[in-house]
């Protein structure tokens, strides 16, 4: 028996561990470090219809137990992702989750239609929550009606299940979660980054060229854990949890509050081998908790 296997809409995962979107590119760099087939899945970098150059630099700034980023969805565009990146990833035995972004609903729909047809894309992750792009992105993620409409539009064209990635920068995340569930979302991924800022010590001006950026890393984990806990009670579709995961214990914590699988973002920069390390350590943790299969941990905070 595989004690770590997890079955989610569209996704048969060997284990519930996957790198989070934007923190792993399209896998090429980490493929030099270890065999990507070890992973449960990969959430690839946000893909937009056209090529995006992203924001000016500096794009990252360190904070206490965290970092801010304002990459701005830089990516080579749908065409290149279809012809170069996804075929590269096809050599590995893993289902890919394609992170889809855009400015208008039509952009999302266009990308979703084509990218969901790629053979190794087994699910979409609708990025309605990127705080680092001017229009689109964040507004979709903060208004339940708009989020639901977008979800429905993408569902209509997607040939694979659609997960919606929620923004933590909202008053009540359960409202958005319920809205996208009703609109047909197959799952939820959460959380994207918290909007933050850092200023230069000498000048007092924002360090990031984009002024604000998205906060990630261990500092946001308590917020992410709370939100997964809340959303688990509000919806019945699966949740892929993330936000500050940097250790095997963190994975257990996210599953305890209700995540069915867990994504690792920023921690890949700190320890590029973090995903395979967690996967290797998980069985020992299950033993210590006296648990036969990892799914037994899911939602135990609520029991």
């Amino acid at each position: 028996m595989n004690r770590l296997s997890v079955s989610l809409p569209g996704l048969e995962l060997k284990n519930p561990i996957m790198p989070a979107s934007g923190c792993f590119g399209f896998g090429r760099e980490y493929a030099n470090l270890y065999d990507l087939s070890l992973l449960g899945s990969i959430m690839i970098k946000a893909t937009t219809f056209e090529t995006r150059l992203g924001n000016p630099t500096p794009r990252v700034a360190e904070t206490s137990s965290g970092m801010l980023n304002a990459i701005g969805l830089q990516n080579p565009g749908l065409q290149k992702v279809l012809t170069e990146e996804l075929p590269f990833l096809a050599q590995y035995d893993i289902p890919i989750i394609a992170n889809v972004a855009g400015t208008l609903t039509e952009d999302y729909v266009e990308v979703a239609k084509h990218i969901s047809a790629a053979p190794n894309v087994h699910a979409l992750e609708l990025n309605i929550s990127c705080p680092n792009v001017k229009c689109g992105g964040i507004t979709f993620g903060t208004d339940p009606v708009v989020a639901a409409e977008l979800t429905a539009a993408v569902k209509e064209v997607s040939s694979v299940p659609v997960y919606v990635k929620l923004s933590p920068n909202v008053t009540d995340i359960t409202t958005i979660a319920k809205a996208v569930e009703e609109a047909g979302a197959d799952g939820i991924t959460m959380i994207n980054t918290l909007l933050g800022m850092r200023v230069d010590e000498r000048t007092g001006k924002p360090v990031l060229a984009n002024k604000t950026g998205g906060l990630s890393g261990p500092s946001v984990k308590p917020v992410a854990i709370r939100m997964v806990y809340e959303v688990r009670q509000a919806v019945s579709i699966p949740i892929i949890g993330m936000g500050g995961v940097a250790s095997t214990q963190d994975v257990i914590d996210f599953m305890s509050v209700g995540a069915d699988a867990v994504a690792v973002g920023t921690a890949n920069f700190v320890d590029p081998f973090i995903c395979p390390t967690i996967i290797e350590e998980l069985p020992d943790y299950l033993d210590a908790l006296g648990v036969a299969h990892i799914s037994e941990l899911v939602g135990r905070a609520h029991r």
């Binding site: 934007g22 090529t51 920069f269």
Partner: protein
């Protein structure tokens, strides 16, 4: 190949005001090939500070499996680094990026190496290797002031070395470009590492001489995955941007928009 290793610190000493020289031993050194590559160092096992720090490789000894970095203890991370003791372990990821070309110039030719502040260190390994290849090196090393000058004698042992300080407290007074101005123009190529304004000035000063510049940018992953360290390019037809960490940090002069 890129490796992550808990290397052992074998030497650690202060060279100048806030400037430290740190030598580590480990298998990772066997992967170090090009001068100008860098390592990504984790200064603490805690999450605070969280990110690794990019530091250039200043010299490589593949026989003893030792390599040396020289860094300025300035912010939080490098200050913590400066407190590490000999015998402690250091989490090093590397070697990263692409360094200076070693075969651009022919044996017997003369080249100019220009370093500014903590841009000086990678030029040391470069100079050693060029000299090994029979290439003469002239070094122009710019510093803020006398108290932060380091490695002057080491460079002098390899070739003509002009030190300049902005306040004139050591060597000639002024910027590296002032020193180059009065240099006989008998070099074929220049190699430079230092703050961006210095690189810009050099490129402007020597528009017709081939040059190789090493750049700095704030980094996340250090390996090309996060798009933190991109720069717009001037001249690469197929690429509108490059990543400093994986495409660089060294680029031919003219490639990066300055």
């Amino acid at each position: 190949m890129i490796r992550q290793e808990r290397m052992q610190i074998v030497r650690h000493k202060q060279l100048a005001e806030n400037i430290f020289e740190l030598t580590c031993i480990g298998q990772l050194v066997s992967e170090m090939k090009e001068p100008g590559q860098f390592v990504h160092v984790r200064v603490s096992d805690s999450y605070e500070p969280l990110l690794r720090r990019p530091i250039s490789i200043a010299s490589i000894d593949r026989e003893t499996l030792e390599f040396t970095m020289i860094y300025r203890a300035d912010g939080r991370g490098t200050t913590l680094l400066s407190r590490k003791q000999v015998g402690e372990e250091l989490d090093v990821l590397g070697p990263l990026g692409h360094g200076f070309p070693l075969h651009h110039d022919e044996k017997g030719s003369t080249v100019l190496l220009v370093g500014g502040g903590i841009g000086v260190p990678p030029l040391y390994e470069l100079s050693k290797r060029l000299n090994e290849n029979g290439i003469q090196t002239i070094h122009v090393l710019g510093f803020l002031t006398e108290s932060v000058v380091f490695y002057e004698e080491k460079f002098r042992a390899l070739g003509e070395t002009i030190v300049c300080t902005i306040d004139g407290s050591r060597g000639t007074k002024g910027f590296v470009t002032d020193a180059i101005e009065v240099l006989p123009a008998n070099f074929q190529t220049y190699y430079a590492c230092g703050p961006t304004p210095m690189l810009r000035a050099l490129q402007h000063q020597m528009p017709t001489i081939p040059g190789f510049l090493s750049f700095e940018e704030r980094m996340g992953c250090g390996i090309g995955a996060c798009f933190a360290c991109v720069c717009k390019t001037e001249s690469l037809p197929d690429k509108e941007y490059v990543k400093i960490c994986s495409d660089g940090p060294v680029f031919p002069a003219g490639v990066i928009s300055l």
